[in-house]
Symmetry: C2
Subunit: 171 residues, 2 copies
């Protein structure tokens, strides 16, 4: 008897700091084809449903997701001391089905820029592996990002993406 034992493992989000360069690598597997994952990352009607932590609502301001395009979005929540709003923007260096390369700035720290490379690989059984490499200009900036609580946003975002992929009718 074969016991499919990958279920807990493949939902784990692996976030690591590169030992050599000021980069963060995120690796995670999903129960969806690379094609569906690509749509979940490029269609603004889909991305607002999963990106970021659970307690923030996402609103797209600019979304021109193509090679040479750009984006801007806002994350909002009702905080303890009233409404909070966080802006993010960047440009798309390359958008193709297995690879998205984009810049990324959190507007609260406007001169900090990451270069992000997202890679989608098909796996057996209609699943895929997502790898995101994000490089910044210094180890100090990288450590600040790791200390900022980005992990919670990434992990919860991918949990929301799992839920979206399980719900979607267009698979």
């Amino acid at each position: 008897m074969t016991t499919p034992s990958t279920a807990p493992r493949h939902r784990e989000t692996n976030i690591t700091a590169d030992p050599e360069v000021p980069a963060i690598r995120i690796v995670r597997e999903f129960d969806a084809s690379a094609d569906r994952m690509f749509r979940a990352h490029t269609d603004p009607a889909l991305i607002v449903r999963w990106l970021g932590p659970r307690d923030l609502e996402m609103e797209v301001d600019v979304w021109d997701c193509r090679t040479g395009g750009s984006y801007r979005y806002l994350h909002r929540r009702d905080g303890e001391h009233g409404p909070e709003e966080y802006g993010f923007h960047g440009c798309f260096h390359e958008v193709r089905p297995d690879r998205i390369v984009q810049t990324f700035t959190y507007e609260g720290y406007p001169d900090g820029v990451s270069l992000e490379t997202l890679i989608l690989e098909e796996l057996e059984g209609g699943r895929c592996r997502l790898t995101v490499n994000s490089i910044v200009e210094s180890f100090a900036s990288r450590d600040m990002i790791l200390a900022s609580g980005m992990e919670r946003g990434v992990v919860e975002g991918y949990e929301q993406l799992d839920e979206l992929l399980a719900q979607e009718d267009d698979r």
Copy 2:
């Protein structure tokens, strides 16, 4: 008697490999205001007159030089074995008078991407200092770029830019 002795030094192009991160830094001073230098980097009619080595002609294919825009250009020459053409493209993450942040890919190595930050600082006497920080994903890529002959292109390009700035009537 005061001897102005900066003339040779300030035309020197200083190209260094960062010891900590996979980045290249270029520093050079110019006999022009930061404003004129900004125009020389953003106006396509000006940039084609100086960017790159002397033996290549530059042709702009796409030039949308604004925050969130993109570019593509070609460098051409008649080589020993016929015409040669090299393509380059990227997106503009941010374009403001003292700072341009953009991605950069040489199309002969399409998955290699640099994140370039260009900073302009005014100096006394109507001069300015240009600093370009270019970071890539690995030390191997950085060393390949340094070994590719980029130095000649950078040095000759800035010599051509000196000549353009000396000629221009709109100063």
